[in-house]
C-alpha cells in the first residue's frame, strides 16, 4: 500500500519571503504572499494607543480610533459601511495599549478599493458630531454591561491593582464611565493631530497579492502622509511589594471569576520564551496545564481554569484565571497558589518539558494556516522588533529552554506570598 500521507512543504515566513518596504515618512510595509484562497488581510498598527490618554480622559485613544471609522471628508459613516460591506469586506479600527489597530479583510479582487478606504479613514477623518455622540453612547452602554460582567471586572480590577491607578496599563483601554463621559470631540481632534501619523507605523498585507503592486498602491495612498507621532514611552511600573487583593461584589450572579497573578515582562525580554514554556506547563498544556488538571479535572471546580502571559513594550502580566461557584473561590485560589509553589520548588520532569516543547513547535503550522494567523505573527515580529527570522527560530528558541530555566523564571516572577488577586462575583 502506498503511503496515505502527502508531502506538503510550507515554509515559515522569514526575511527571504517577507517583502519589506519603508516609505520616507517612516511607514513600514510588510507583504507576505499566500495564494491558498483569493483573499487578503491587512493588519496595521500606528503608535497612538491608550498609553497617551490623559488620566481623566482614559478611553480617548479608543474613541479616536472609533471615530476614524465613522466618516471621512468624502464619505459619511453610512456610505463607508455600504462600500465595505457591499463587497463582503470588513474594516475595523480599534484602540490598543500602544497601538491604534487597523484591520481589514477582503477578496483579493477588492483590495484596491479597501486600501483606498483605509487610507481615507486615517488621513481624512471628518469627526462628525452626530457620530461622536452615537459612539460615546454605545461605549457607555458597553461599559455599563461590563460593570456587571464578572470576568471583565475581575480583569479590570486585577490590572488596576497590579499597575496602580497612575499607570496607563492600569486602566481599561476603553476607559471608565466618568472618563468617557468627559471626552469631547475637541479632545478627539487634538489626539488625532498629536498622535495619529505614519512614523513608526506599520502595515502588514498577507494573502493573494503581488508585492510590487501593493508597494505602489500603498505608496500612492500614504507615502506623502505627513502626520506626526510622539515617541514610544513606557512609564516605569513600581514593584509589587506586598499582597494586593480586592473582591468586587456583583449582585445576582451565579458564579465568581478569579484573576490571580504577578507582574511579567516586556515582549522583547530574554525571559519571554522560558516564561511561555513555564506558563504552558503551569496553565496551558492539554486542558489548562497543571492548573486545569487540579482545578477542573481532579476537583471538578470549574469549567475554565488556565494560565496566561502577555507582554507589550512594557511589562505584561503572568496570570491564572478561573470561573467557580462562590463557595469554591478560596479552594480554587489555594490550588492555583499550590501549583505556583510546585513550579518554584520542584523541577519539572524532562518528559513534561519535552511535551510542551513539541507542542509549541508543532502547533505553529496550524497557527499559520490562515491569512489572519500569518498577518498577526508577522505583525508581532515587526511591531516588537523581534527580527523577521523570529518565527523561523521558534524551534531553536523553544528547544533551548531547560528544566532549570523553567524553575528560574517561576522563582523570579511568581511569588506565592506576594501576589495580586481580584475576585468578582456575588457577594
Amino acid at each position: 500500500m502506498s503511503t496515505p500521507i502527502a508531502v506538503t512543504e510550507r515554509a515559515m515566513p522569514g526575511p527571504e519571503t517577507i517583502t519589506v518596504h519603508e516609505y520616507a515618512n517612516g511607514l513600514r510595509l510588510y507583504i507576505y504572499e499566500n495564494h491558498t484562497v483569493p483573499a487578503v488581510v491587512v493588519d496595521g498598527s500606528l503608535l497612538a494607543g491608550s498609553v497617551f490618554d490623559p488620566r481623566e480622559k482614559s478611553g480617548l485613544a479608543a474613541m479616536t480610533a472609533g471615530m476614524l471609522r465613522r466618516g471621512t471628508r468624502a464619505h459619511t459613516f453610512d456610505e463607508l459601511n455600504e462600500i465595505i460591506e457591499s463587497v463582503g469586506a470588513a474594516i475595523e479600527i480599534g484602540g490598543g495599549r500602544h497601538a491604534l489597530d487597523l484591520y481589514a479583510n477582503c477578496l483579493s479582487e477588492d483590495l484596491s478599493l479597501i486600501l483606498h478606504v483605509l487610507a481615507e479613514m486615517v488621513r481624512e477623518p471628518a469627526f462628525p458630531e452626530k457620530e461622536f455622540q452615537r459612539l460615546k453612547q454605545q461605549t457607555l452602554t458597553r461599559i455599563q454591561e461590563r460593570e456587571h460582567d464578572t470576568r471583565s471586572m475581575a480583569f479590570i480590577t486585577f490590572r488596576r491593582l497590579l499597575y496602580g491607578d497612575d499607570h496607563p496599563y492600569g486602566r481599561p483601554v476603553t476607559g471608565l464611565r466618568e472618563t468617557v463621559e468627559a471626552i469631547t470631540l475637541a479632545d478627539v481632534r487634538e489626539f488625532y493631530r498629536q498622535h495619529v501619523g505614519p512614523q513608526r507605523g506599520q502595515l502588514v498585507v498577507v494573502g493573494d497579492v503581488d508585492p510590487a503592486v501593493v508597494i505602489e498602491e500603498v505608496g500612492n495612498l500614504l507615502a506623502d502622509w505627513q502626520g506626526t507621532s510622539l515617541p514610544l514611552t513606557v512609564p516605569p511600573v513600581p514593584p509589587v511589594e506586598m499582597r494586593r487583593e480586592e473582591r468586587v461584589s456583583i449582585p445576582d450572579k451565579t458564579q465568581s471569576d478569579i484573576v490571580l497573578g504577578w507582574l511579567g515582562i516586556p515582549r522583547k525580554h530574554p525571559d519571554w520564551t522560558p516564561m511561555v514554556v513555564a506558563n504552558t506547563i503551569w496553565g496551558q498544556f492539554g486542558m489548562g496545564g497543571r492548573i486545569g488538571d487540579s482545578v477542573r479535572e481532579k476537583q471538578g471546580l470549574a469549567y475554565y481554569a488556565y494560565g496566561s502571559v502577555d507582554g507589550n513594550f512594557g511589562p505584561g502580566a503572568w496570570t491564572a484565571t478561573a470561573g467557580v461557584a462562590p463557595q469554591n473561590v478560596d479552594r480554587a485560589i489555594a490550588s492555583i497558589l499550590a501549583e505556583a509553589r510546585r513550579l518554584r520548588d520542584e523541577p519539572v520532569t524532562p518528559e513534561e518539558l519535552a511535551d510542551v516543547q513539541t507542542f509549541l513547535i508543532g502547533s505553529l503550522p496550524i497557527r499559520l494556516e490562515t491569512n489572519e494567523g500569518l498577518a498577526s505573527a508577522i505583525a508581532d515580529m515587526a511591531w516588537y522588533d523581534l527580527g523577521l527570522d523570529y518565527l523561523q527560530k521558534t524551534e531553536e528558541r523553544v528547544r533551548a529552554v531547560t528544566v532549570e530555566d523553567v524553575q528560574r523564571v517561576a522563582r523570579a516572577y511568581m511569588d506565592p506570598e506576594t501576589y495580586v488577586l481580584a475576585v468578582a462575583g456575588p457577594a
Binding site: S2, P4, I5, A6, V7, T8, E9, R10, P38, A39, A74, H75, F77, D78, N81, I83, I84, E85, S86, V87, G88, A90, E92, N105, L107, E109, E120, R134, Q137, Q138, T141, Q144, E145, E147, H148, P251, K253, T254, Q255, F285, G286, M287, E297, K298, L301, A302, Y303, Y304, G323, A325, A354, D355, V356, T358, F359, G362, L364, P365, E369, T370
Partner: protein, 439 residues
C-alpha cells in the same frame, strides 16, 4: 476618490470547498467523507454523531453535552487525561462540540500523526469507561459551565424565549440542559445514551488535509472497519404544534442594561424557503459566515434602524440550517435613555418595511457577494473545511453544501418579500424583555 466601484462576477461558479470530495460508506454503516487539501502539512479528523439535544427527553436534558465531556474521560487503552497529552505534544489542536442536531469531535494534527486521531476516535466510539467518580467530577464542571452562562443576562433571556416559543419540540431546551437534570442524571443514564447513539452506523468520519485519498481510505478501514454496527433507536421527535397568537415573556435580573429579543418559527435547512430566509436575514441583520459569526453588519437594515438612530448599542439577527424547524432570532441591546417599547417598535418597523416594500436588487447582490466572500475566507482553514463537510453530512447533504451559493444567488426579491410576510408575523412571535433591576 469616488464611491464608484463595480461588483463584477458576483457569483463564482464553484466554491473552493466543493472540489473533489470523496464520500463513501463502510460495510458497518460508517459514512466517510474525504477531501485532499495540500496547502499545509496538516490533516483534520472529525467524527460526527447524529445525536444532539434534539434527541433528548424531559428529565435528561443536557445529556448529549455531558456525554461529549465524558468522551474525554478515558478508555482502557487511553486512560483519562491521556488524550490531552498525546494530542498536544504533537502540536495538535482538538476539541468537541454539542449542538441541537449533532455531537462532533475533532483533532487537527501534523499530517504524519493522523493515525493517532484515527486510533483515538475509533477507540472511543465503543470503549469509553464512564467511571462513576469521573462522572461526579464532571457533574460539577458542567454545572459550572451552566453558571458561567447564567452570569450573562442574554443567556437567561434566550433560554426563556426559546422554551416559550417552542412548547413541545426538544429544541426548546438549551443544549447544556436544565439545572435540575444536571443534578439528577446518573452514570447509567449517560452510559446508556452513549451505547445507544455511538456506533459506526450513526457516525460520519471526515478527513481533510495533506493525504492521498485511496490509501487514506484503506487506513480508515483498518481503524474503523471492524467496529460492529448497532441497532439504532427510532426517536420520535414531536413536531411543534402551530402557534396561535403572540407570546411574551419578561426576565428580571441584575445589571443596568435592558435587552430585547424576538423569536419567530424558521424553516429547516432542506425547506424551499430556507435560502430566501437566509437572504432576508442577511438584509436585516448582515450575512453570517456559514456555521460561524459574521463580519460587521453596519450597513444592514437593523443597524440603520436601531443603532444608527441611537436606540440600541447593537442589533442583530440569526437564523441557521437545522434539521427541524427552529427559530429565527432578532436581538438588541437597549441604550440608556431608551425603552424596551421603543426598541421593539423599531424592530417591527424594519420587518414591516420588507413586508410592504420588499428589498432592492442591490441588497440581493450584496447578500450574494457577502456569502461568497465568507466561503472564501473560511476555506483557508483545513479544520474549517472539514467542519463544513461534516456539518452538511449530518444536517442536510453534500449536494446542499455544494449548491449553497448558487441557491443564495437564485433568490428573488419576490421570494424575500413573501418569506417576510409568511414567517415574520405578529401572531408567530415570542417577544422577550430582559428588565434590568437598576436600569
Amino acid at each position: 476618490m469616488g464611491t464608484e466601484h463595480t461588483v463584477a462576477d458576483t457569483v463564482a461558479p464553484t466554491l473552493a470547498v466543493v472540489g473533489d470530495v470523496t464520500r463513501t460508506q463502510l460495510e458497518n454503516g460508517l459514512t466517510v467523507v474525504l477531501k485532499e487539501m495540500h496547502t499545509a502539512p496538516v490533516i483534520s479528523t472529525w467524527v460526527w454523531y447524529r445525536v444532539g439535544s434534539r434527541n433528548e427527553v424531559p428529565g435528561k436534558t443536557g445529556i448529549s453535552h455531558w456525554v461529549e465531556h465524558m468522551q474525554f474521560k478515558g478508555t482502557p487503552k487511553y486512560p483519562t487525561g491521556t488524550y490531552d497529552r498525546l494530542l498536544s505534544r504533537e502540536g495538535g489542536i482538538f476539541n468537541a462540540m454539542t449542538w441541537f442536531d449533532y455531537t462532533a469531535y475533532f483533532e487537527t494534527l501534523p499530517a504524519n500523526r493522523v493515525e493517532l486521531a484515527l486510533d483515538i476516535e475509533s477507540d472511543r466510539m465503543v470503549n469509553s469507561l464512564y467511571d462513576p467518580e469521573e462522572v461526579e467530577r464532571e457533574r460539577t464542571v458542567i454545572i459550572s459551565e451552566r453558571s458561567m452562562n447564567e452570569n450573562r443576562p442574554t443567556f437567561l433571556l434566550a433560554e426563556e424565549v426559546q422554551s416559550t416559543a417552542l412548547k413541545v419540540h426538544p429544541y426548546r431546551h438549551e443544549i447544556i440542559g436544565w439545572l435540575a437534570d444536571l443534578k439528577t442524571m446518573t452514570r447509567d443514564d449517560l452510559y446508556t445514551h452513549y451505547r445507544r447513539y455511538y456506533a459506526p452506523n450513526n457516525a460520519v468520519l471526515v478527513l481533510v488535509g495533506a493525504f492521498h485519498t485511496q490509501p487514506m481510505l484503506e487506513l480508515v478501514r483498518r481503524y474503523f472497519g471492524d467496529l460492529d454496527p448497532r441497532p439504532l433507536p427510532r426517536d420520535v421527535i414531536p413536531p411543534e404544534p402551530p402557534q396561535r397568537g403572540e407570546r411574551r415573556v419578561e426576565v428580571h435580573g441584575g445589571g443596568d442594561t435592558h435587552y430585547v429579543q424576538m423569536a419567530f418559527h424558521a424553516v429547516p435547512a432542506t425547506h424551499e424557503d430556507f435560502f430566501p430566509m437566509i437572504v432576508l436575514d442577511a438584509v436585516l441583520g448582515g450575512a453570517k459566515s456559514f456555521g460561524g459569526g459574521g463580519s460587521s453588519n453596519r450597513s444592514s437594515r437593523l443597524y440603520r434602524g436601531l443603532v444608527a438612530t441611537g436606540l440600541a448599542a447593537d442589533a442583530d439577527s440569526w437564523v441557521g440550517p437545522m434539521i427541524d424547524p427552529y427559530l429565527w432570532w432578532f436581538d438588541a441591546t437597549v441604550n440608556e435613555g431608551h425603552s424596551h417599547e421603543e426598541v421593539e417598535q423599531a424592530l417591527w418597523q424594519e420587518i414591516q418595511r420588507v413586508q410592504e416594500d420588499g428589498v432592492s436588487p442591490e441588497e440581493l447582490r450584496k447578500a450574494v457577494k457577502q456569502v461568497r466572500a465568507h466561503f472564501v475566507y473560511g476555506a483557508q482553514s483545513i479544520t474549517n473545511q472539514a467542519r463544513w463537510l461534516g456539518f452538511a453530512e449530518v444536517v442536510t447533504s453534500q449536494e446542499w453544501l455544494a449548491s449553497y451559493l448558487e441557491n443564495v444567488a437564485a433568490v428573488t426579491a419576490e421570494d424575500v418579500q413573501r418569506v417576510a410576510q409568511t414567517y415574520l408575523r405578529r401572531d408567530q412571535v415570542t417577544v422577550g424583555w430582559y428588565v434590568a433591576s437598576t436600569g
